[in-house]
């Protein structure tokens, strides 16, 4: 060892040197740098590790969302305006499409609107009780008026409306992918109803 040759072993009786103050940092890489040069490889290694984990996590997350879903289409043709008598709730498309089509007055405007038959409490299918003129959910007892406004039970907000418009062939089209919510003031928007 080079050190051993240049520094002779201290004698037993010799006074011990006082501890040296730390040498001032003269290495230019220590000045104005947020990390030391010596930690470059360590930081690069951790950076590579974090990057790899991040890329894999992102890929894994994206993989959970397929581009194509094999689900039924969101829209359907629902006949002609004349099929819906004033004041009635049509359950014709409820079994297959979970939608009621109602011809009634709302906000003073006679109109046809499509209510989605999904309870806003926890997603069960309410029933239309024509004698009591209300939608009633069998799961936890939420009730809605014919307009779809919640008035009893745990439902926190009214039923949602689906987009309803006249298609190219003159038939009514209902698109469940576009919804209109009462609490957002969307029930007056075009598409949320058909003027009867």
């Amino acid at each position: 060892m080079a050190e051993a040759t240049t520094n002779p072993a201290p004698n037993v009786g010799e006074k011990a040197h006082p501890p040296r103050p730390p040498a001032p940092i003269t290495d230019p890489t220590h000045d104005n740098h947020i990390w030391a040069r010596r930690s470059f490889l360590s930081l690069a290694g951790w950076g590579l590790f974090a990057g790899t984990v991040g890329v894999w996590a992102t890929a894994g997350l994206r993989l959970m969302f397929p581009r194509v879903l094999f689900e039924p289409p969101s829209f359907f043709k629902a006949g002609f305006k004349a099929d819906y008598a004033v004041g009635l709730v049509s359950e014709k498309y409820t079994p297959e499409w979970r939608v009621w089509i109602v011809n009634d007055e709302y906000d003073g405007v006679p109109q046809i609107y499509a209510l989605i038959a999904i309870c806003t409490h926890l997603g069960c299918t309410p029933r239309w009780l024509s004698l009591e003129s209300k939608f009633k959910c069998p799961c936890h007892g939420s009730g809605y008026t014919k307009a779809g406004i919640n008035f009893e039970g745990p439902a926190p907000r009214p039923l949602e409306r689906a987009k309803i418009y006249i298609g190219d062939d003159g038939q009514i089209v209902v698109d469940k992918a576009v919804t209109y919510r009462w609490e957002k003031g969307e029930w007056g928007k075009p598409g949320s109803f058909l003027p009867a």
Partner: protein, 263 residues
């Protein structure tokens, strides 16, 4: 024909290399040997070599944690048996359950053992939590093990929830419809939760098509992809995660000084 000497046979068996390679220590009843027996056996070493007399008192622990683990083992054993017949595919899942229930010999027994052990696990994990709370066993130095226990409670409930969908009947489909609808309200990640509109406005993400709920469902409604996802989580994801946490949970009991004692 002369029968071999019993002592000789005994000696031959118990001193054979095969026997000694598995069981290192004999059954001499002295403290040192008893410690060695426990410490050198992979199953026995899960128990402490020595424990406090109060720790084995049933009236103190009710053995609720141990019974929870026992029920977990029952669900693992019977669940693996059910996997031989059950297919997590939309067209097959419900008929397979009927096949198991009404035609496979002992299928009904296995399915119902799985079901009741799962119920028992959920009930006993609450009983265990209650006992730990009432005896103050969550206090330092055991506070971290309480946290691990809460995670295990969550895993237990998630195991039950994912298993609920697998019979693929009306009850399970609607139960999971209701359960996953709660994910709509996840902050940031659910399309009806807090901040969803802001994120959707900025990035176009967190819509009904891309949010926490659709990730669980594999679509926008409970369907065949949901069944497969829940099956994988039920049979692989949560059991492995739960087992890892159980190892940690049991290990920490030992490291935190064994089962808590009366003050």
């Amino acid at each position: 024909m002369e029968l071999p000497n019993q002592q000789e046979v005994k000696k031959k068996v118990f001193e054979s290399q095969l026997w000694r390679s598995i069981f290192r220590h004999s059954y001499q009843d002295n403290p040192r040997n008893r410690v060695l027996q426990v410490a050198s056996n992979v199953w026995l070493h899960l128990h402490p070599v020595k424990m406090q007399r109060h720790a084995i008192r049933l009236s103190y622990t009710w053995c609720a944690g141990g019974l929870t683990f026992f029920f977990f083992l029952v669900t693992v054993a019977t669940g693996v048996v059910l996997m031989f017949y059950y297919r997590p595919v939309g067209e097959y899942a419900f008929p397979d359950i009927q096949y198991l229930e009404f035609d496979i010999p002992f299928g009904m027994l296995m399915r119902n053992m799985h079901r009741w052990a799962a119920h028992g696990m959920v009930i006993l994990v609450w009983v265990h939590m209650f006992r730990v709370f009432m005896t103050g066993s969550y206090k330092p130095p055991r506070e971290f093990n309480w946290v691990v226990g809460v995670l295990l409670l969550t895993i237990t409930l998630l195991l039950s929830f994912t298993g609920y969908l697998l019979p693929w009947d009306q009850l399970s489909i609607w139960a999971v419809t209701v359960g996953t609808n709660m994910a709509r309200a996840t902050p940031f990640a659910g399309h009806q939760g807090p901040f969803a509109d802001q994120i959707a406005g900025l990035t176009g993400l967190v819509t009904p098509r891309y949010d926490a709920r659709s990730m669980l469902l594999g679509g926008t409604q409970v369907g065949a992809p949901t069944l497969l996802r829940f099956y994988v989580l039920h049979c692989i994801g949560f059991p492995i995660l739960g087992s890892a946490l159980m190892i940690l949970h049991f290990w920490r009991i030992r490291k935190d000084g064994g089962i808590s004692g009366p003050l």
